[in-house]
Assembly symmetry: C2
Homo-oligomer: 455 residues x 2
Amino acid sequence: MEPIKQFELSKEYLESLQLGIELENVDFIRESLDGVNVADIAAILDELTMQESVYVLRLLEKQLAADILIELDETTLSKVLREFENTEIAVWIELMDSDDGADILNLLSEKDREEVISEFQDRIKSEQILELLRYEEDTAGGIMAKEFIRANKNWNVIQTINEIRRQAENVEKIYSIYVVNNKQQLLGRVSLKKIILAASETRIEDIYDEDVVSVPVHLDQEEVATVMRKYDLESVPVVNAKNKLVGRITVDDILDVVQEEADEDIQAMSGISDTVDEYDSVIKLTRARLPWLLIGIVGGLLGAGFIGFFEEGLSKVTALAFFIPLITATGGNVGIQSSTLVVQSLANKSAFDNSLSQRFIKGLLVALLNGLVLSVFVFGMIVLLYGNEVKFALVVSIALFSVVLLASFMGTFTPLVLDKFGINPALASGPFITTANDLLGLAVYFLVAMSLLSI
Amino acid sequence: MEPIKQFELSKEYLESLQLGIELENVDFIRESLDGVNVADIAAILDELTMQESVYVLRLLEKQLAADILIELDETTLSKVLREFENTEIAVWIELMDSDDGADILNLLSEKDREEVISEFQDRIKSEQILELLRYEEDTAGGIMAKEFIRANKNWNVIQTINEIRRQAENVEKIYSIYVVNNKQQLLGRVSLKKIILAASETRIEDIYDEDVVSVPVHLDQEEVATVMRKYDLESVPVVNAKNKLVGRITVDDILDVVQEEADEDIQAMSGISDTVDEYDSVIKLTRARLPWLLIGIVGGLLGAGFIGFFEEGLSKVTALAFFIPLITATGGNVGIQSSTLVVQSLANKSAFDNSLSQRFIKGLLVALLNGLVLSVFVFGMIVLLYGNEVKFALVVSIALFSVVLLASFMGTFTPLVLDKFGINPALASGPFITTANDLLGLAVYFLVAMSLLSI
């Protein structure tokens, strides 16, 4: 027996498909794609030309085409949508889950969006989608779907199964059935397993579980992810201010949120100002990278002015210049280490975080230890290897020690301050702080040198 | 009606609980914790002293205590386990899912592990756990559980429901029922929803879905996460080389994997060599940070030796020293940006990645553009602000341009090479490459200066 595996996209497969498209061999194309998972078909479309993709999407069954559209990455999707009439898009959107439909509408221009909405046939679906459009993209409301199964607490198991049957087409994955009162307020949940194992006359009231974790509709998506991770939830109900059940979020959407947030943090750390990837255009990539590089350059120019200020001393003791990279690099490394630790602890907030003073003392101790080891090492190396005089070695190592302390202080507190002001604290590990640390390091270095060497 | 919310851990609650423990008021403690989610109880234990935690865990129902243990973070868990007898631990482990039990056994010393295993009463559970211990921690086998529902394709719906009933206690969350043949080979899946909606005599053979994505038992956990994200799976069956169904992985475990891998990458980027957090001891934190700092220092010392090599030229044109930080910082920034983009594209491998030459050309174009803008800007600024002569400004901007090209090249290819050798490519964004880039930048700078200024 052939083992069931993931679909492997081969060059040969792709070429035969493209030949089929060229020859407009509809049966061949449909057969080639038969049984292939929608995520894989989406990956295939990514490899085709826009014309070929459009041709294939028009050929396929509408539901299948709608499912594929959802799986396309945003850039491709926007381009594909431009090739279709708004009437075609409206039909697809009505075949999607409400959250996916709302996401697609959000990609359209306002004019197109209004036109697509005016084409909707299914009143309930269009109301659901319009409701979702109201919420901020990055909140629970923005990622929840309106498709879920709810049961009134007064129902029995048979009535609940009938509701599942009625909704079977709309609600693809059922994890839990949410139990509500007559005001549609969330009371609890009951698992499908319990429904299967209960007698048909059993009342929902008697088997439902009151321990249900819900999230408010305005909660930030990152916090929704934290809640779902903490409680190991496969889906979470979303409630409004009056505890009315308004939607549900499934864990597969959260998986994407976690990955996106991590990617965002890493990009913030590495000074890329826009969410870009390798496949974006040269211009877009350059634009995303230039701002932070320019900030670095401005920092460098300031640094140059700064060192220039000590030109006289520098011309007397040229060796001072040798250790500039050592000082700035160490300051940068220490700063990034410190801020990364704080950023990660901010992301995993617990009820009783270390207080500011605890953070300060601990950070200070670590910095003292690191600084001590590094500066003793550097002192020894300068004396041994470079044969410089002891006084000079002392200047470098004292400056290094101070820079480690300062950079660690900056690295710890900048993300805390950014977080207080609602700015992504990961930015603190990025080029901005590194640049600031460079300048600080230079200042400390030359001040120590000038005062100790009396130049 | 009181809305159902997440549990909020307050200082008052904690203090009253601690008082209860001090007074050994068993009823009060049990009542305080009644209805509180296990993840929240675990967070509470984190705030108690070890003695208090041990006292509480012994008080609670065994199943509840076992559930709480799973939720503790690894450091706390290891400490807690040391306070209990191996007989007690054995009882708890038998009440856990096999994957959680195996994780706990992995935390024990070999001697304790063997003792705990010898205490097991439940033959099936202990066989399951022993099987899981065989797999590498970071593979599908290492994170899968042995608890899942399988149905033979020859069964009907009633037989399947009976199997669910039989396993109801063991298998907490049921997403899909996996369909196997007589050799236990995976044929497909059937959703609980379908079981509920089908007539009881329907044969599984007639309703199951052959389109099931499975993963091999040795697949890296990161790739399991990629598969589950791509296909939006809530659980995935794990098969051995003969396509025999050996376990399943649920998405809540994958959520943790995604977060862990992201944290690991960020730590690699920021030069923290061990997985540490703010709560670790000063010594552990220092030890995790020192190695990369020392590498940076060694780089700095090499850089010093390097600049020293050009001492004569430097003493003639002191202004050369001013722009050292500008050159090294820009090299570092460009290198980190480039490597981050490559690392992220490696993480989202698609079937047809950009080829090496495509990457090279695109990277080159972006670097040319960035380099051009930056060096023109720097040229203008030096002439305008610092009033240096044009020739000197030309030296700095030509050096800057070359450094941008070189750093971008290094940043693009280092992660690719690391990845080829099976090393985490995120390390390429870390201090090691930054240090290498610093040295390269200095070399370029002084070589350009020496040849153009003929000093």
